[in-house]
Symmetry: D2
Subunit: 479 residues, 4 copies
């Protein structure tokens, strides 16, 4: 099968999937006013392969069949694959104004993680299954989402210790050919508009948790799967000035599995509870660098908005504003530099033969952008001023009696007349002070792992023994 067009991708989503949003069932996810934003954002992963300029980056030959497939599906079994993937994802994000198309990257990050674990476990069955699944997705040019985080109930307790057995997804039945699973995965980005959902465990498990140690892939339209979506922005929004580019963004779902049947050749972990944590870790090792990558275009853009606000307000030369610029630029460029550093030392993940960006540095990059984003927002809000939240709306602008007043009073400095300034402030409200801005703040913290997880991993990955042994040597303490 050839590389699909964006239209073919959309056509593929018009199936029996059970998707709800705001209390209503969605008949066609490509037509819902919220979900269509996500669908169009995702579609660029399909546009990309048909874009002449990006083709070299986006398309490769399937090693066996020789057919054209998406480069996302490449097996990263050589160090340079890391930089190549970085460029691919960055190109996709630049196109979508920072909003990662998402429907091929997270899925292949999970495939890579599962493959690395299977290789690490020496489990050829799982390795073959996951590599066959990779080929299947590549050759059918499918979109995929990743369902990792369980609903978790009381987070101080493990899966089998909860008051209810339902707080982590689990195997409720098994036949020779199939397993049956129930449970719910939370915060699942884009699953409402991907062909496939890949499910993996979210944490370390004990022997008592064996039924919870399960990984598999399943079409999103499978019977028993119900998705409850939550918008991250307002579709009905008429406050904001229209922009030349379509609105970009994604929609998360709570994905409920109610006795869903999974064929065993799509099962990649089955009660091997000792491996559960390693699967989660491997996924995050691959996916964290994807996150670091997609931050670059968005931070450049957000920094630019902040600087334009200063121009519009006539304060770009004020010393306090220049201090804000320094802080904003430092934040953005440090993120970029840490990404470059991470890819300058690719790492053979767990000696699996698959390469990831340097884990410690990727982790530091993620901690950097997650820890300092709120300060960045504060800086921009400080520069933009109260107009960020008190600006007249696009409806006011369209009103015959009000527009003359707005033209008279809303002008700014330099080339910012009232309309330009209100347009700028309108976009900045969306990005820095709206529901969407809140969603962005929370994602920056929680997507790809919380602070607590990052800190734990940083301690695990850092060369602590090397530091200490140097210090022992200099002080004169026996090793």
């Amino acid at each position: 099968m050839a590389l699909r067009s964006a239209e073919e991708y959309k056509q593929g989503l018009r199936d029996d999937r059970a998707v709800y949003i705001l209390g209503k069932k969605v008949a066609d996810v490509t037509a819902d006013p919220y979900l269509t934003v996500g669908v169009e954002t995702a579609a660029y992963d399909f546009h990309l392969a048909h874009d002449e300029e990006k083709r070299d980056l986006a398309v490769m030959k399937d090693a066996e069949s020789g057919e054209d497939v998406s480069s996302y599906f490449e097996v990263p079994d050589y160090p340079e694959a890391v930089a190549k993937r970085h460029e691919l994802i960055k190109a996709a994000c630049y196109h979508t104004d920072g909003a990662l198309p998402f429907v091929k990257d997270v899925g292949t990050d999970i495939i890579n993680g599962l493959s690395a674990v299977a290789r690490g476990m020496g489990n050829d069955t799982y390795r073959d299954r996951i590599e066959n699944y990779r080929k299947y997705c590549a050759r059918n040019d499918l979109s995929m989402s990743g369902a990792v985080t369980d609903v978790k109930g009381d987070r101080s307790k493990g899966p089998s210790e909860q008051d209810s057995p339902d707080y982590y997804l689990r195997i409720v039945d098994e036949t020779d050919d199939e397993i049956v699973v129930s449970g719910a995965k939370a915060h699942i980005t884009a699953s409402a508009y991907t062909d496939e959902i890949i499910v993996i465990p979210t944490r370390a498990m004990t022997e008592a948790d064996a039924d919870y140690a399960v990984a598999f892939a399943i079409p999103a339209a499978t019977k028993g799967i119900t998705q409850i979506c939550r918008p991250s922005f307002r579709a009905e929004d008429s406050y904001h000035f229209p922009t030349p580019r379509p609105k970009r963004g994604h929609i998360e779902a709570l994905v409920i599995f109610d006795e869903v049947r999974v064929p065993k050749d799509r099962v990649f972990l089955l009660r091997e509870w000792r491996a559960a944590q390693y699967v989660a870790y491997a996924f995050s090792a691959f996916h964290r660098f994807t996150a670091v990558t997609y931050k670059i275009p968005i931070l450049e853009y957000l920094t630019g908005l902040g600087m334009l606000a200063a121009d519009a307000n006539g304060v770009s030369k004020a010393s306090n504003v220049r201090d804000r610029f320094v802080s904003m630029i430092n934040y953005t460029e440090t993120t970029k530099a840490l990404a470059r550093a991470a890819l300058s030392e690719p790492q053979n993940f767990g000696e699996s033969g698959l390469y990831v960006a340097n884990c410690l540095t990727s982790n530091i990059a993620k901690l950097h952008f997650a820890s300092n984003f709120h300060e960045f927002v504060r800086n921009v809000q400080d520069i933009a001023g109260g107009l960020l939240v008190t600006q007249p709306t696009y409806q006011d602008w369209q009103h015959d009696e009000l527009q003359p007043y707005l033209k008279r009073y809303m002008g700014g400095a330099g080339d910012f007349d009232a309309e330009a300034r209100l347009k700028l402030m309108s976009t900045m409200h969306h990005v820095f002070a709206s529901d969407f801005a809140g969603w962005h703040e929370v994602c920056t913290i929680h997507a790809e792992g919380s602070f607590a997880t990052q800190n734990m991993m940083l301690l695990a990955e850092a060369p602590a023994e090397m530091y200490k042994s140097k210090a022992r040597e200099i002080v004169g303490l026996s090793a």
Copy 2:
């Protein structure tokens, strides 16, 4: 006239005022779905005087007429007045869940500021006018807003240096009895639903700016005034779970003055450009402590939400979460302690005989809460988790097929069943991750003066010479 009831206050707003919101003219501000939230919040300033428990705090005798008037109108000509007003405002805020009723405090803060300046200038005319205006408002039990911030155009330039003369409000004509003013004031809280608007300059001026040096009071329904309002939250919102208390909040307006005629007995500054900055400073000296005061109830409430989220998620005993608690509590309690410190040393403002809370300490308190709020938000978002923005909505909860799933999967720890947890997350979304949250972040920075202004004032108010003279003495340098 007796103390008005909330109903009488609302009745008084049904006049000819020209108020627009989202591109439409509002016939009755007490009936508009957005503005009514502000009106009801403001109404508590009227409820208060009729609340038996708060009466001692809220009502005083008019010194001349002996009639009952609101305590907000007290002349603060003795040190203890500061603490009394602090208790009054705090009580009002506790009632409105932290959202300051606002329509008597800011107005009397301006009246106090103008009175202090007139006393400082030795200008008996202005002093009599402002004190008469105070009595007028008190005896008619009026609500007032304050219009301070001009639209400003290019902020690197003064009023008379702008490309357009319209970027600061100015006197465009004058007769024996009246002045005529044009201009626009931005970010004016609650003016759409106050009886009166008091206008003062926002900055220092030069001789060339004399026409811009003007202060006065005017009924909101005066001909020539057009208000363009901007919601700070979504009225149409059906995402959120209903709460037992009404929604609270305020609405800002761009207030346009188009050749508005002002009788001279309501003019408190008329081209005395040298005094313009002092008026702005005096107002902020009085108002800043109001801001410090109203932060206390809201921060206690927000801290509580964050701690409940930890309970709901079962993470209250995790060491990383306890670190977040320490940071959140430290933020909240430092704000409270700085408020106590500011009132423990009331200050005779500019030797005017009117007392304010200690200016330097109030300033420090404001800087404290404004500088650290985004980190506080980050901490709460970190504790609350992704559910803060991916939670199923109230519409989902009401859906027959979805509710059983939500009950099964959305339960948390302890006594947080699915409904309690979703209710909590619903309120938390509103407060920490919505348009309203963005508005709150921006207000925390910009209301009552930006960082740059606060820093400048801190330098001006601090006892720098005392520090240096001590240091000189100890080092042994001549003074």
Copy 3:
């Protein structure tokens, strides 16, 4: 006995005490070049009572005998006692350039703590003993130090769990009239030059730790006590320019108790292990506010030095330097405001009838100054420039051939000629970049409890249930 003079205090120190410094036994602590600095600093606690201006603050009548005694010994059984003591300590510190005389405050803080605990326990024997001891010290006008922190060995283990029984001070024998104790207390300030040492436990204990649960007072010259002192500055120092005031500072000791016999009427806790933690907590409740108090003069002085450095360098008007000023002043004045707030709400400690400054606010004040001091130092070092550490020394200044060069090249801005600038930099080196500066940084963190302890106490003292119950009410959750 009358209030002693400073000379009488010094005379009293010339006894058999076993004090070592830098590997040598000290014959007379008032004559050792290091210890004499501490002795002279401490002596101001005796000067104070003879200073006509301070007498009202420093002297009170003994309730029973009517004789004049030091106000330090007042029983704080009324709320205003807190503010009075604050003023007393502040006056002492202003005199000693910020270096707290120390030899009456810490001792009476412990006496107050032990008295509050005895009252809380309802233990009249201990209460009488400690109050008698208070009178004894008052009437003999003694100086006292407090020995709290044990050497601790492996801090992850309790006293009885250590590899060695010696890591916490313990009772090794007991007779009808005496106990015998062995152990070592670390970081004991001023004990080398106080008449008395008061010993209390440093942490919570278990039943197995009963022998370690002991509190008592003992003369410093008692047989079996050996003190190993460590200078916090260089006595031999000829780098620095002479200053008009004597050098101030204190010396810590490791105080070793080797089978020291203690009469039982000086024992205030004897194996009541459950009370051990409460004694430590009570002491810190009283002492923490002493620390907050003595920080005020020192921070004002340090801020002044930083501002003078800017004057000397001609950079006081540079925007980046003014930002540093804002940060420095904010740090200093926030500390002062938190002190005022703490004393504006004195607290009846554990319902003992003895008053302390508000515990939560004192704790916040301590956390504030300890958390931000290094940033303050960084700011001053940034302003002062490299000369802080590369400045020519006083020896260079005294050299005939070098002085002309220094005069020619070392001049600064304004009235800072070369000599004034070098004098300033000389003091600043001592305070911001020397052994003493390192000692000061470490003390700021660790004196009066580490960050970990403060954080734990903040969580314990904060009104967390109040926050949560407000939030529950507003959200609509049952309490």
Copy 4:
């Protein structure tokens, strides 16, 4: 001439140089107790070329003569030269326990900077002079220091605006073959023990400052040069336990030029005032990355010390201590990652054909380590505890009666007996709480440019227009 041995280097320093320390003239800098520490540290730049393992890194062939010369002198006219130099400097620093040998790197950084400027100016005379000087130093295997910072007087004024003409080094006379210069350069590291001193301007200049726009090289022993040195540590120090490695460190001098004659073929800038700032900037572009490089070994070592202190105290598993580890490691590894990022994108400096590490990223790396070092120190001091400054000294340890006490009481956790723990604390006092620690804090801020300079350069180097143009495009504003 062959590559010199360390001994030959030292022999070369025994000349007529006028060096003073602590008010005394030094007869032989290799014999002075302070300066010898610097000399031995510097000597490793000579050891290096004779170390078989490092030879490939340290030695290259002179392109013309074919003789072996130090790799420091390489002309960096190809991108990979940057990484090579990074490895060379890192190797040197690892050997000297983090204390950069210094006497070849800073000099060649200046040579590279001057060469790049000459190339940029198209000034072949200067280019030839500086390249000839490079060859001269290489073939004679000389050591060099760089004299950049003038004493500056009132820093708000330029060279010619000062009250005294002496506050910046200047040309006081000129003949056909020579110039004569007077002035003083401050904070000059290692100049007391280098063969050569290279002098460049420190700032932008105006036409009036032409006499101050001068760059040249001169032997340190030249008539008219007087150096007043200041120790950064205590040579007489017997507090500290001996360590297996020699003490490392450098000594700064105030270098006074009193009518010093400089032959014109050693003059690289002569009144071209427009180029003065570019020379300073070019030097810092080359040298800043040297600084970033040498931080790596020292930060690894300091991090190790902090972690060992936790081991010694038995607190390595405490959650608050692990948080400190996270912060310390993050600081260290971010510095390392930024260094890697900077070298992954070498930059053709000002199109001169000479390569430097990426300027923006190097600048960010420098800002990173300078901004966060004090927090790092605070973290280590927090972990280490009060013993950092109250530890018994090596003299106490050597005392027969005290050692048994110390052995009994000073033991820590794990394998840290009393001696190991005291040794560790002794080194940590030197590094984290002594005169040397103060010197280190100040150098971290001020060496290679202050915060203000770094911020200014960050703004200049960042791709601000790219950010803004992206934002314009997305918002829909014309470019």
